[in-house]
């Protein structure tokens, strides 16, 4: 396997990326950019993204996964993170992937907040992706923050016997990650209606069974007028569960479905 960890972007704001070069030739050359969700959800999905990248590379598709500024292995601290920066990071990563792969077609795949970021970033991209795949995208920032706060309360209660914190007391952190006032303000403003102005030629929306917000995102994407495919995935994926507690990291059906979908390539 040809896997290259590297840094890109301006030195003071360097981003960490891992490029999985295609192992077989494929025409036209295709590439996939994997965009992380936020905080614990990004920790949770790391393994799945890595396996997905390896699988796609074996099928002849170049893949880049990367960490936004202030997250993961990239420069910056939790409180430096903003959605505005992350959208710029997606543009930068897209260019990096284009340079490395020479791909004629690039797909962005984003899970949860990563899905919302992909849709919003494509609207402002000078060089938009051919396709978007949004996996259980966040539809409403206020609802999402409420979910994160509840997950934070649950995680604390689960981690230390007899400990409880009130939902109202969760203000500037989410399951171990700092949330600045600016990020909080930006997150509250996230709304599926913003996704309608995406510039991709086609979009696939994946929703997990029973997950809220899917219809809202679907309606917004359909308003764009370009083709939208809606795929329902029969799993209940716990996005914030603690990896260390031996939970299933990579649901096989999710990996299979997404990799098959991306291997098919542009219609």
């Amino acid at each position: 396997m040809n896997i290259t960890p590297f840094r890109f972007g301006p030195p003071e704001k360097s981003l960490y990326g891992v490029f999985h070069a295609a192992e077989t030739r494929r025409q036209p050359v295709e590439a996939v950019l994997l965009c992380n969700p936020f905080g614990q959800e990004a920790v949770r999905i790391h393994r799945l993204y890595r396996l997905l990248a390896e699988r796609l590379a074996r099928k002849g598709i170049h893949v880049l996964r990367f960490d936004y500024f202030g997250t993961g292995e990239s420069a910056g601290e939790d409180n430096d993170a903003t959605l505005r920066t992350w959208i710029a990071d997606i543009h930068l990563a897209h260019q990096e992937l284009k340079n490395r792969s020479r791909a004629a077609s690039i797909t962005w795949l984003g899970a949860r907040l990563g899905g919302a970021l992909c849709a919003m970033a494509s609207a402002s991209a000078a060089s938009p992706p051919q396709s978007l795949v949004l996996w259980e995208s966040v539809a409403n920032g206020t609802d999402y923050l409420r979910e994160l706060a509840q997950a934070h309360v649950d995680a604390v209660a689960y981690s230390i016997w007899g400990t409880a914190i009130a939902l109202a007391d969760v203000k500037d952190e989410a399951i171990g990650f700092g949330v600045s006032a600016e990020l909080l303000r930006e997150l509250k403003a996230v709304n599926a209606s913003q996704f309608a102005s995406h510039k991709a030629e086609r979009v696939t929306l994946i929703t997990n069974s029973g997950a809220p917000g899917g219809d809202e995102v679907l309606r917004a994407l359909q308003q764009n007028g370009r083709p939208v495919e809606h795929v329902k995935l029969d799993i209940a994926f716990d996005w914030t569960s603690e990896e260390a507690m031996n939970t299933a990291l990579v649901p096989a059906n999710a990996l299979q479905l997404i990799s098959n979908m991306l291997e098919k390539g542009p219609a």
């Binding site: 896997i3 960890p5 891992v18 920790v43 601290e77 604390v156 016997w161 007899g162 171990g176 990896e243």
Partner: protein, 282 residues
């Protein structure tokens, strides 16, 4: 950066800026299956804090974890983890000229650090959060009291259903697991008390500084400050290691407050113990 005999390992080096780096470096490794950034990015935050205080830090993914590959001729998991951490030290030695290392690990990271220290003299310090645990008779009593105090009715209900289940198992002829099988840590089999005591003695005789920390997440197995001393009465090593029980911090540092507490804990200890020149003069 990629390193290791097959260039299959990936790590992130965080160097002090604006000051002479210390002569002792800190290695941080995976906690369970979490990649090298650590649970809730704890390892990144810790590495940057240590570097700000002058200590170089290398965060590594062992084989098959995070961004590291598995080598073609990989060994059994624990042996491979030791080989990987040795390779990390080799690499740092080449790149930074450092030849003394502290390995800091959480859970399985603590186990891997301990195993590496046993076979590599370059390890001069170990910081272990929720490493191997040895419950005592008092552990069970403390747990029962704590359970009753915090969740009285659910605890009584749980005990009643457990008693019924055990009686039913006896009728069906199913045996309870023996006590040795209970000496596990998140699925990892712990060494016997005798083996553990001998390991600690060996390392301490080699002047390895050891700091054990137990969190509030393992109420079932560790739940009062003097437990280590009680579990190893008659063993001199318990008086030669530092051991803290921090009940308001959890296994994976889930809150920012817990992260701050643990970062201060390890940074303070590492600087006091391994600041430039001190280890060499011990």
């Amino acid at each position: 950066m990629a390193f290791g005999p097959h260039r299959h390992l990936v790590g992130t080096l965080t160097m002090p800026t604006g000051q002479e780096p210390g002569t002792t470096a800190v290695l941080l490794t995976n906690a369970g299956v979490i990649h090298r950034m650590g649970p809730h990015r704890f390892n990144v935050k810790l590495a940057r804090e240590l570097a700000r205080k002058g200590m170089p830090c290398f965060r590594v993914d062992i084989s098959g974890q995070g961004d590291s590959q598995s080598p073609a001729n990989s060994q059994p998991f624990e042996q491979q983890a030791v080989s990987d951490l040795k390779a990390a030290m080799d690499h740092m030695q080449r790149v930074c000229g450092v030849d003394k290392f502290v390995i800091a690990g959480i859970c399985s990271g603590a186990h891997n650090g301990l195993a590496t220290a046993m076979v590599d003299d370059r390890v001069v310090g170990l910081w272990m959060l929720d490493g191997y645990v040895y419950p005592t008779a008092k552990t069970q009593k403390v747990r029962y009291m704590h359970q009753l105090k915090t969740r009285f009715l659910p605890t009584l209900g749980s005990w009643a259903s457990s008693a019924v289940r055990k009686a039913s198992d006896r009728v069906k002829g199913m045996m309870a697991p023996d006590s040795a099988a209970l000496l596990t840590d998140f699925g990892h089999k712990a060494p016997s008390k005798e083996e553990f005591a001998a390991t600690m003695k060996t390392l301490l005789d080699r002047h390895v500084c050891i700091y054990m920390v137990y969190s509030g997440s393992i109420l079932w197995n560790y739940n009062y400050p003097e437990q280590l001393q009680d579990a190893f009465i008659g063993h001199d090593f318990v008086h030669r290691v530092r051991c803290d029980y921090i009940p308001d911090v959890d296994h994976t540092a889930t809150t920012l407050q817990a992260q701050r507490r643990l970062i201060d804990c390890i940074t303070g200890w590492a600087l006091d113990t391994f600041a430039q020149g001190r280890v060499a003069s011990r």
